[in-house]
Symmetry: C2
Subunit: 206 residues, 2 copies
């Protein structure tokens, strides 16, 4: 299935700036993108990077790159062609099995979505020609309502690994605890480790 | 399947004290317990409340109550009898389908577990007589290793709805965004609502 992977090549992971400098944020974002593209491919998807700008020469995604500097909603909307999945590029824990559950649609004409922490939409699978994505705010519920308004069945995908988008520092423990790919390796190589303080997991850097 | 639901009847949800007073924390904890027990029953489980103290008379769980004032690990360990599931009482988003996935074990002798945010273990399904739970710290990985050490297959359960345990105020948006039971109703009735501030969902109270 055609799979768009939106990627911010200009200022990725800006909320990680308290713990990572600019170069590091780019490197970490590239590692997560690599993990997501690998998981999409293993799940049978055909990934297309939907990037806000040209990717640096050293980033070899081995996937077509669509450059669209517009905000997420119009860029994704323009990139949807027939049955299309949209998988965020910061899903460092995404697994092929979770993505397969999302892409394995029992009936044509429906919409499937995996919520992100905080109400966003981390994975969207669109098989209805009239469905229009809208990533503003708590988009998961908006997508459910948008599907209902056009009579398309809506199928929520219940996945922890697809729910964790790496947004701020509080998401980094999840990557170290559960990740097995480049992003987890990158964090460990950069000196990050998980500590538990008063029952809460957090990261420290050596 | 025998299902233990550990419950703190003395000082529940202490990390919610910035936003809920003592009586409210008890009421909200009771609402979540009711949701979890209903989901366990609908998933085919036979719930037993494993409580740190007597439940107040007004809380009718319609389930056997085991009183054990010890810490979680020895209390759960003593409560395991044959094939046993352990489902935390603060999983306000737990659905029968998520729990069914956890309890539906393809082979006897294995251990299944659903991680919580922050590395804990929110659901544990034990079908191996030698397995010993240990809920200290980042217990999900410890449980994986404990299963490995006795040769028991370990099956991770990938569920967003089982990953969200209601610990601190930052978990409340998830309950309002995705909950459909008593806990979500309780929060709404108490005046809580979700707002999005700089792309992050949080709760406000009117």
């Amino acid at each position: 299935m055609r799979t768009l992977v939106p990627f911010d090549a200009r200022d990725p992971n800006s909320r990680l700036s308290p713990v990572l400098d600019g170069t590091e944020r780019h490197d970490f974002a590239n590692a997560m993108l690599g993990d997501v593209l690998a998981a999409v491919r293993e799940a049978g998807g055909d990934p297309h990077v939907l990037s806000t700008a040209e990717l640096p020469a050293e980033v070899d995604t081995a996937a077509p790159v669509i450059i669209d500097s517009r905000p997420l909603t119009p860029a994704v909307s323009a990139g949807i062609e027939g049955d299309t999945a949209v998988v965020m590029s910061d899903l460092a824990l995404a697994t092929p099995s979770g993505l397969r559950r999302a892409m394995r649609t029992p009936e044509s004409g429906d919409v499937a979505a995996a919520p992100g922490l905080g109400g966003g939409t981390n994975v969207l699978v669109v098989r209805h020609p009239e469905f229009e994505p809208d990533y503003h705010g708590t988009s998961f519920d908006d997508h459910r309502q948008a599907a209902r308004s056009i009579g398309a069945p809506f199928r929520p995908i219940d996945s922890f690994r697809l729910a964790v988008d790496v947004d701020g520092p509080s998401d980094l423990p999840e990557v170290l605890l559960h990740g097995t790919g480049r992003a987890a390796d990158w964090l460990a190589d950069a000196g990050f480790a998980v500590v538990v303080d008063e029952g809460r997991a957090m990261v420290v850097r050596d």
